[in-house]
Amino acid sequence: MIRAALEAVSLWAFPVLLVGIPLVGMIRKVKVYDVFIEGAKEGFNVAVRIIPFLVGILVAIGMFRASGAMDLLTAGLRPLMQATGFPAELFPLAVLRPLSGSGSLALSTDIIKRYGADSMIGRMAATLYGSSETTFYVLAVYFGAVSVKRTRHALPAALIGDVVAAIVAVAVCAWMF
């Protein structure tokens, strides 16, 4: 029942927003097509701009994997992870996610490519990436903007949130798919 509702959300959210947002625009007398084109022009640049980041990191990960080092790492992690039930393949991604946006984007891309876009691990990786932010970067930026040096409990609270988001991402995917 709940699962069916969630599947409906996944199924309908995208097309509904695709029509709903321009609908609100029409009501508000926005020239929706002109504005769309204006914004869409940037899409190409955004996609092309990430190429160097993606090539750099994916090549490093690709070498790491091909040499057999990735297998050693996941094999080493497996006993530790087995106790928690968290997939060992996703552990490096969960660690990298709060540290680096481009790095974790590349790592999740690599996992998706490797295990398949419709595989359980691939979907878990995508969900894990989407479930959080680059925590360290966000903290540095906003606290930096007002020259706050002692951030007190900001980092522990944010990281606990990230850990929970990662665990929930894996659990919900395991349950839904």
Binding site: A13, L17, V35, G56, R123, Y137, G161, V164
Partner: protein, 294 residues
């Protein structure tokens, strides 16, 4: 949008300063003395002394290198200055990636010496480079579509609409901030813009919110207030309705149903946000500040 904002003192820096039109995605921010201010390793754009945006804004990873268009100035300044605007400054933590990147490749080579996988390592490198470009090109379609739709959302005033819906929640989360204080408005707009995936629009609101919270920050201004930490945990949780980047990556990788991750992503990001905000409330008494803002 930033009219009447709190003045913000930046540490001593002698950056380029010139008269220019500053604009962002929503239009003109104003004509004034635009200054690029370096703070630690980040660069900010100021218009008449007020902080308008940060350059090298990359909250969502994917957008590395994309700049808030406050910096797109009709510059009457030497080209060198324009170069200064367009240089992507690296965040301090980005430096760590240098070590990780090198270590991955170095370890690969060392392991290959033991396993004799040299040919595989070469193939891994070459194939990965190809994959990276294919994925990026595969992203063009959905990024173009989504950024276009998001521009419509912005122009239609959806951020403000969402903001009105979020107002009751903000009272619950920020009891220390008076409900009519400008900080609340900026916080709501920041969260609403983030939810829509408009990270470019979210950043200036977020910085404004931090500046407003700083005016309420009693005692030592270099120590975060409870409200600031709570606001930060809301941001690091990254609540977003549509994970457009990952949908793009999945479809570029040949998924038959790339939007299947929308619901799980929403659930996990909401859980993360609730836990992070709750933790900020629980932990605040264990990380006391001499004088807390009331």
């Amino acid at each position: 949008m930033w009219a009447g904002g709190a003045r913000h003192e930046f540490p001593a820096a002698r950056p380029p300063r010139f008269l220019a039109d500053a604009r962002n995605d929503s239009g003109s921010v104003g004509r004034g003395r635009v200054a690029i201010r370096a703070l630690r390793t980040l660069h900010f754009v100021q218009v008449d002394g007020r902080c308008a945006a940060r350059i090298g804004d990359a909250p969502r990873g994917l957008l590395l290198g994309r700049m808030p268009r406050v910096a797109r100035t009709s510059v009457r300044a030497p080209f060198a200055h324009r170069g200064a605007v367009l240089t992507h400054p690296r965040a301090k933590l980005g430096a760590m990636l240098n070590y990780i990147w090198f270590a991955l490749m170095a370890i690969a080579l060392v392991v290959a010496m033991f396993t004799g996988n040299a040919a595989a390592v070469t193939k891994g490198a070459v194939d990965s480079a190809k994959t990276a470009v294919e994925i990026s090109l595969g992203l063009i379609g959905i990024m173009t579509l989504w950024l276009g739709i998001m521009r419509v959302a912005e122009q239609a005033g959806l951020i403000a609409m969402l903001g009105r819906l979020l107002r009751p929640i903000s009272r619950l989360i920020f009891p220390d901030v008076p409900p009519e204080h400008p900080a609340i408005g900026a916080i709501i707009m920041n969260v609403a813009a983030n939810m829509l995936g408009l990270s470019n629009a979210a950043t200036p609101f977020g910085i404004k919110a931090m500046e407003e919270l700083q005016t309420l920050n009693a005692g030592d201004k270099e120590t975060a207030s409870n409200a600031m930490v709570t606001f930060m945990t809301l941001n690091t949780a990254g609540v977003q309705f549509i994970p457009a980047t990952m949908i793009g990556v999945l479809s570029a990788a040949g998924s038959k149903n790339p939007t299947a991750i929308i619901a799980p992503t929403l659930i996990s990001t909401l859980c993360g946000a609730v836990v992070a905000v709750t933790m900020s409330k629980i932990l605040q008494r264990f990380f006391p500040k001499a004088e807390e803002s009331r």
